[in-house]
Structures are given as C-alpha cells and as structure tokens.
C-alpha cells in the first residue's frame, strides 16, 4: 500500500488531537487529545520504518509510548490531586501562573 495513506491518517489524527487541545477546557480531555497527537506521530514513525525496511522507527515508537505512559501517569495524578483539593477542573480557571 502507498505510504501516503498512512501519513494521511496520521495527519488527520494529529489535527484532531491539536484541535481537541485547543478547544476543550477539561484537563482530562486535553490529556486524551495529547495522546492522540503522540499516537499520530507513532503511526507515522512505524509507516516510515516499514518503508525503509528497518526497525529504527519501531524502537522510536516504543520509546514514545513509554514516555506517553509516564506523562499520562503524572497528568492523571495532577488531575486527581486537583479534584481532591476541590479545585475547578478547567484549564481556563487555572491561570495564576502569569507574569
């Protein structure tokens, strides 16, 4: 199959992720959309790996997954901590960190 299709799907998923991060206000959904972006990248990496016929891209994809898992752990932990402190679960409300 032509590599173009894989890349088209990857780009579509990536744009969905970006638009999710930009438009949604719940940190949980933002985290999900981030995962979408990462996996879009993974898809592109694996497609290129297949195209070149070696395994470098696949190793990259595995590393990205590990990083993504760590990131989700930390992100979910932060969200749980916010919930316990009864902070609003809304990124637009949380804007104390400014100049």
């Amino acid at each position: 199959m032509d590599i173009g299709w894989f890349l088209a799907v990857s780009a579509l998923i990536f744009v969905i992720g970006v638009s999710g991060v930009l438009t949604r206000r719940s940190p949980l959904v933002i985290l999900l959309c981030l995962e979408l972006m990462l996996n879009a990248a993974n898809l592109a990496l694996i497609a290129f790996s297949r195209m070149h016929g070696n395994h470098d891209g696949q190793i990259f994809a595995i590393i990205v997954m590990v990083v993504a898992a760590c990131e989700v752990t930390v992100g979910l932990g932060v969200i749980v901590a916010m919930h316990r402190r009864r902070l609003p679960i809304d990124v637009d409300e949380l804007q104390e960190l400014q100049g």
Binding site: V21, L22, R25, V91, D92, G99
Partner: protein, 670 residues
C-alpha cells in the same frame, strides 16, 4: 645560593621577622621586652649587611653587581617581573647606613618611648619601616622598587600618626601620605615611559638597553626621568612637594630621627643615583633635579632661621641638606652625594636624638622661645648637640665639612652654569651655620628656664596637665599620647649609647673621603658608577683648597653671626626682626607654600569634588546611567510580562502557530 645573596636576603628578612614577632608576642613580653626584641632583629639585620659587604668585597671587581632572584612573578615576552634583589656597592652602602642608623635609633627608642602605651606597636611599625626601606634599596627591578616605595610611605604615615588621639598628628599623617602617593604615581608613570622603550623592568638590563633604546635627549626618556624626579621630590621633601616634612614632626622624635632625617627622605637621592645611566642620557631632567635641589636648600635654610619649633628647625635643615644631595647626584657628583647622605644620617639622627632629650626635659614643649640655659643641666645632650651642629655647619674636621665640600667641589668642577649652584651652595652653608647655632644657642645658652633649674636641682620637670604642644589642646591621657614619664639622655644608658655612637661617627665619618688623601667611598662605589662619564673626574688642587678654606670660613662665619645675634647682643635679633619685618613674615610663614598649594590644588580639587557630587553625579550618574539602565530593563520586562497570560490554551496556540511557521519556512526553503 652563594653567601652574598644569602646575607642580602637575611638583611631584608630580619626586620620583617622582627615586625611580625613584635606584633604577635610583643604584648606578652615583660617590661621593655618588645624593644629589645625589635632592636635585636635590627642588630641581626645590620650584621647581615656587614656580611654582605665582606662577601661582596671578596668578589672580583668586575662581578660586584649580583642579582638574587627568589622567584618570577611573571616571565613572558616583554615582561619580566621578579622578586629579585640587586646587590651592588650602591645598595650595600645604603643597607649599611639604613640598618646601622636604624639599630642605633631602636636602641635610643628602647628607653625614650618607655612610658608610651603604644610601646609594642611602635617597635612593630619601626621594624616594618626598616623592612620597607631595605626592600626599596635592594630592589632589582622597578616593580619591587615601587612596592618598597609605597610601603615606606605607608610606614611613614603610620608613624607620623602614631599618637592618633592628636588631631594635629593624624592630619600631618594624612598630608604626608597624600603627597607621598603623588610621588608614587610619578614613579609608576615614569616607569611606564621607560619600560615602553626598553621592554624590561630589571634595572641592569634597562641600563644596558637604555643606550640603544634612547637617543641622548629623547623626549620620552626626559619625561620618564622627570616623573621619576616627582617621586624623588615627594619622598625627599623637595620644593614644591616638601610641605609634609615639617608637619611630620608631629610623630615621636625617634621617628623624626629615623624616617624624616636619616633614611626615608634620602630615598630620592638613592633613586637618582640608582637611575644615573638614565639621567645621564636625559641631561635636561638631571638639570631640573639640580636646580630644584639648589632652590630647596636655599628656601629651607631661610625658613629654618625663622621658625621657633625646635624639631621643625631640624626638619627644615634636613630639607636643605637633602637639597645638597639631590643637587649633587643630579650633577654627577654621585659618590659625594651619597657620602653626604651617610654623614648627614649620622649627624642629623644625632641632632634629633639630642632634641628629643631636650623636649623630654621640657615635658613635651618644643618651642625654642620657651627654652634656654640647658647647658649645665644637660651636659651630655649639649655635647652631642654641639658635635652634631658642628658637623652640620661644616666645621673641620667634622664629617659634614668633607661631604658638603665634596658635593660643591664636584659641582664647581662641572663648570658653566653649575657655578651658580656652587655659589648658592656656599650661601646655603652660611645659612646652615646660622640656623644650627641659633637653635643651639637659644636652647642651651642664656638664662636657664624654670625647667632647666628644676633639672639642675635633680628633678625632671613634668607637666601638670598634658597638652599637645602643637595646638595646646588637653591630651587624652589614655592612649595615643607620649606617656606621662619623660626620658632624657643623662639618665638613660641606652640613649647615651646611641647618641655617643652617633657622635663618634659624626666626628670621624668624614675621614672616609678626605680630598687627595683618602677615597674609600669613591673606590668602593666605583663598580656601580663604572659606566658614568662624570665619575672619574679629578678636580684641580687649587679648586679643592679654595673650596675647603671657603667652606670652613663660611661655616665659622655662620656660627659667628649666630653668636653675635643670639648670645652677645640679643637685641639685634629683635631689631632685625622689626626692620626686616616683611622678610621675617615670609620666612615664618614658610614662604606661603602651604597657602599656595591650598589655593592652586586643594581648593580647585574641593570645588571640582563638590561639582562632581552635586551636578555630575545627580544628573549624569544617577539620572542618565542608573535611571537609563533601570528604565530599559523595566520597559523590556513589562513587554515580556504581557505575553505570560496564564491561559494554557493560549500557550498551546502559540506553540502550534510557531511550529507551523517554522515547518513552512523549511518546506519553502527545501
């Protein structure tokens, strides 16, 4: 390391060790322990200096300039700063005079300063001074010379301000320090002028390169030598940088004897003698030195006739005598100038010591008007004062006679306009005789004052209320004042020992260099001055005889005038003072040098400082520089702050837009 170098290092290090030892353990020693410790260090230093002399004389005549390097500070292309000593006849001569006279003055101070609360501090400072002075003398390059030069100025400051509760003393110390720093600046700048062309800091290589690096009369060399002269004038109290020396008499009398008569103030003479190859290539700079020396010797002589403070009379006399030395070494009379330096160190230290004894008998009072008739009650002091006075006035066969006449002889032998200096020198000699014996007659002859009568009855006078003799202010008797007890030579063996030795030296010191008979110094110093075109001169016998007779006659005439005016016919002094009132006012006010310097330098500097503080600092520094910098930072940071909104999605958008822009940029360019 051979023996010469070892002894030279020891000469330098003993006073340093003494200073540290006295400073650290001096307070724990009982009684006069600190004094003995400091004096012992100096004695060892003097013995090492003798060792250096003996070992140096053991060398072959052509190898008597030895450089002892301890280590390099910096050694690269075009720079060679080393911790190195130059041991040659000139420096050995100087360390012998300095360490010898210093040892005697330490011996004197052991008892003279006995009741002072700062006894330990005094000896630590004194040892530090000797260390600095020896550094200055033994330095083998300009760097170490400048270090020693500055150390000596600092030591002088500490010792002038020794009685730090006296406002007059601290002011005098500051004045001396400021003028000395001016000299330091001159020395440093002069060094740069010379270093630029010779590319070496070492003395011997500088002198070796000077002939190729500079044409005779080279402008840079002349400027450099004149700047060196500024350093020499500041240290040696030559006009117009002399005003600190009379004020420096606020320090304890042994300090005046050691620093402000025998050693430190002669550093300028040493500098010119050391730099003689450069001065011979820059004859106009040497002429400036000769003329200034001549002017100083006359001006100081006239002031010494008029002032009434015992120590200041001797201080002006010192200025005048150093004028002779500067005039001599600037005119090529090197051995003669150094010879006078040595004899002057002997008799001037002696005069100061005797003056100290008289001042102690007067319970700190220094005013000649209040003294008189001490001859009977202080026979030893009187004897020493007369010996010192005769040597100073140049009466044969005392030491000053031979040394002063040799300077004038060598100057006369130069011919030309130097004859003017020759005549001025003999006029100065007449003044010397007058002011020296005016001082002696007024202090020791005439009706005994109450203090002298009290001493004759066997009791030393003590003031009921201690006051500062300079301004009559009541003293803080806790610290920083000379102490309640006084010590006179008649009652203190150590003072007697020091003064007796110096008196002997003042009598016999001149026999080293009797024209046509002995030439010990001439031949000893010859290796240092071998390259000089003025050194090996042989004046005619007629000039020698004429000079000797004239010198003796002028000296005796001066004493005779002093006798006539102040002993035989005291009303002459009063009537002369009335008739020559403007002249007397000029002399008593020291030719208004203090006022002129105040008007020309101090006031403009103060005005400039006030302007700088009120206008320049407020507008330019505070407004423009400080205000401008903070304004720029504040505006920049507020612009950056505006971007930090705290909205997460806004940041994300910025990142996405940025990434897209960067991506498209590279896509377009690929």
């Amino acid at each position: 390391m051979n023996a010469v170098k070892l002894f030279a290092w020891l000469t330098l290090l003993f006073p340093l060790a003494g200073c540290i030892a006295v400073g650290l353990v001096g307070r724990k020693l009982p009684g006069r322990g600190a004094g003995y410790l400091g004096t012992g260090a100096l004695l060892l230093s003097f013995l090492s200096a003798i060792g250096t002399l003996v070992k140096l004389q053991g060398q072959d005549e052509h190898h008597r300039q030895i450089v002892a390097v301890a280590w390099d500070y910096a050694h690269t292309t075009g720079l060679d700063a080393q911790l190195a000593l130059l041991v040659d006849p000139l420096s050995v001569f100087m360390i012998l005079v300095v360490s010898g006279v210093s040892t005697l003055i330490h011996v004197y101070s052991i008892s003279y300063l006995d009741s002072d609360r700062g006894y330990v501090r005094f000896f630590a400072y004194l040892n530090f001074f000797v260390f600095s002075m020896l550094t200055l003398i033994l330095a083998a390059n300009f760097v170490l010379l400048i270090v020693g030069w500055a150390f000596v100025g600092a030591a002088s400051y500490m010792l002038i301000s020794f009685w730090y509760r006296r406002g007059t003393a601290t002011r005098a110390g500051i004045k001396a320090f400021v003028i000395n720093v001016l000299g330091d600046v001159g020395l440093v700048l002069g060094t740069f002028f010379i270093f630029r062309h010779t590319h070496t800091l070492d003395f011997l290589s500088t002198f070796a390169h000077a002939k190729e690096a500079f044409k005779p009369g080279d402008a840079d060399l002349t400027a450099g030598c004149i700047l060196l002269l500024v350093g020499a004038f500041a240290k040696s109290a030559q006009i117009p940088l002399h005003t600190w020396l009379p004020d420096a008499m606020e320090g304890p009398t042994p300090v005046s004897a050691l620093i402000h008569a025998a050693t430190m103030v002669t550093a300028g003479v040493y500098l010119i003698a050391r730099m003689h190859p450069l001065f011979e290539l820059a004859p106009s700079a040497a002429d400036v030195g000769a003329v200034i020396g001549c002017v100083t010797l006359l001006v100081a002589g006239t002031i010494a006739i008029a002032v009434t403070d015992l120590k200041r009379v001797i201080a002006y006399s010192t200025m005048s005598q150093i004028g002779y030395m500067i005039m001599g070494v600037s005119s090529g009379a090197y051995a003669a100038g150094l010879f006078h330096l040595m004899t002057h160190a002997f008799f001037k230290a002696l005069l100061f010591m005797a003056a100290g004894s008289v001042i102690a008998a007067m319970a700190g009072q220094q005013n000649l008007d209040k003294m008189g008739g001490f001859r009977k009650s202080m026979p030893f002091t009187f004897g020493c004062m007369v010996i010192g006075g005769l040597a100073l006035a140049g009466i044969p066969p005392f030491s000053g006679f031979f040394s002063k006449d040799e300077i004038l002889l060598m100057i006369g032998d130069r011919g030309g306009w130097h004859w003017g200096l020759y005549v001025a020198g003999y006029v100065g000699a007449l003044l010397t005789g007058v002011y020296t014996f005016r001082m002696i007659f007024r202090a020791f002859l005439g009706e005994p004052v109450p203090e002298a009568l009290e001493l004759e009855a066997g009791h030393l006078h003590h003031a009921e209320v201690h006051t500062n003799p300079a301004d009559g202010e009541v003293e803080d008797t806790d610290v920083g004042f000379p102490g309640a007890d006084h010590h006179i030579a008649e009652r203190e063996p150590s003072m007697k020992l020091a003064m007796g030795t110096l008196a002997l030296l003042a009598v016999v010191g001149g026999f080293l260099q009797i024209p046509k008979v002995t030439h010990v110094l001439d031949s000893f110093l010859a290796p240092t001055f071998a390259d000089s075109k003025f050194y090996e001169r042989d004046p005619t016998g007629g000039l020698i005889a004429f000079g000797l007779v004239l010198g003796a006659a002028v000296g005796l005439a001066g004493i005779g005038i002093a006798y006539l005016i102040w002993v035989k016919n005291p009303q002459i002094a009063a009537s002369a003072q009335r008739r020559l009132a403007p002249l007397h006012t000029l002399f008593v006010n020291k030719w208004y040098f203090d006022e002129i310097i105040d008007l020309l330098v101090v006031r403009p500097a103060q005005w400039f400082g006030a302007w700088a503080q009120q206008t320049f600092e407020r507008v330019v520094v505070n407004g423009l520089l400080v205000g401008g910098t903070t304004g720029v930072v504040r505006a920049g940071s507020s612009a950056v702050r505006a971007a930090q909104t705290g909205f997460l999605r806004y940041y994300t958008l910025l990142i996405v837009v940025g990434t897209v822009v960067v991506t498209f940029y590279f896509l377009m360019n690929s």
